[in-house]
Symmetry: C2
Subunit: 206 residues, 2 copies
């Protein structure tokens, strides 16, 4: 933190989180989808966004690829840049959760440490990690963006699963197996978790 | 943009902006407050957030100082870092506007070029620039954070108004003179602009 930043005072917000919950009639949280490229993170997050909309719940998909066209357009794929990429999306998610929305992030986010750093920025029940599990060979066969092919040819360096590791979550809140279940089943699995854990309840002012 | 970024495809969102407007019963926009330190940007943005809440409108203050504790914690106050600070907040605002909220940003943002770059990222009616005008001597007398004192002593470099320029907006949508009007008058001035320009209308699906 620079010299000037030390002088900076956190400003009080006047509209509270509770106010926002009351206005929306729902609470907020971050649902963090992690998994290999091609596992179906964005597809699932986007389908969940649609389903939550049907429930009258405000959510927003923060897609790692999309954000590289905007907020993270000045980041590459070095280990440091990947770390910063995840950190920024974690911070933006925090703003969204504070603003009263369900933030849905879709990023490979291959390292446990990076995901843990994001988790620690949230209260216990605000952070839900969803491991979108799919064998590498299936992801590589799908190869929706043709990236595995390029990675195998050596045209892309540090590609997760090929030339860089993917560290599976040890204790994710939800595991979805995208090679064994349909998209609709996966969406309903997440919805079921949210329902059981009262994320979908009408918000009652306490 | 790196080699891999070229391969990245923009993912289709399934919940549209219109869907969000319909769910919230209001549209979204960015209200960008600019002005000297101590002019009252955050105070006004926060009071406006509260007022919009009373109207049932979802808004969120993105305060330049607050964000230096999170998203922009790795930025200092060099010209490059200030530019990046503004760019990132502009991009986050874009996400908020896309998510259906009124984004309210409170940053000195002293350079026309930087503000223009943000403006260009938005559709014409999505971006509202509010110049919170206040003479330097009044801001310096207020000095709520004691920064002017430090800047005069040379303890802070590149301080806007003292050792770095502030470029007034040439064509802001709104000018608020915080030394001549009360906070309530300023809030109502912005509300009046929003009302006249149909930002406060119930959302009608066309």
């Amino acid at each position: 933190m620079s010299n000037l930043a030390k002088h900076i005072v956190w400003q009080e917000k006047r509209v509270t989180r509770q106010d926002r919950y009351r206005l929306n009639n729902h609470r907020s949280c971050l649902i963090w989808f992690t998994g290999l490229s091609g596992a179906g993170k964005t597809t699932l997050a986007t389908a969940l966004e649609k389903e939550l909309y049907e429930y009258g719940i405000r959510s927003y998909v923060l897609d790692g690829d999309n954000l590289r066209h905007g907020l993270n357009s000045n980041l590459g794929f070095s280990p440091e840049d990947r770390k910063e990429n995840i950190r920024r999306i974690g911070e933006v998610s925090k703003l969204f959760v504070d603003a009263g929305l369900f933030a849905l992030t879709a990023m490979i986010s291959p390292y446990r440490e990076d995901r843990q750093l994001v988790r620690e920025r949230f209260a216990k029940h605000e952070f839900i990690e969803v491991y979108v599990k799919c064998p590498l060979e299936v992801c590589e066969k799908r190869d929706p963006k043709g990236l595995y092919k390029k990675a195998r040819k050596g045209e892309i360096q540090h590609f997760t699963g090929i030339s860089a590791p993917y560290e599976e979550p040890l204790h994710p809140e939800i595991i979805v197996e995208s090679d064994k279940q349909t998209l609709e089943q996966s969406v309903q699995q997440v919805i079921q978790y949210l329902r059981e854990n009262h994320y979908l309840d009408d918000w009652q002012q306490s």
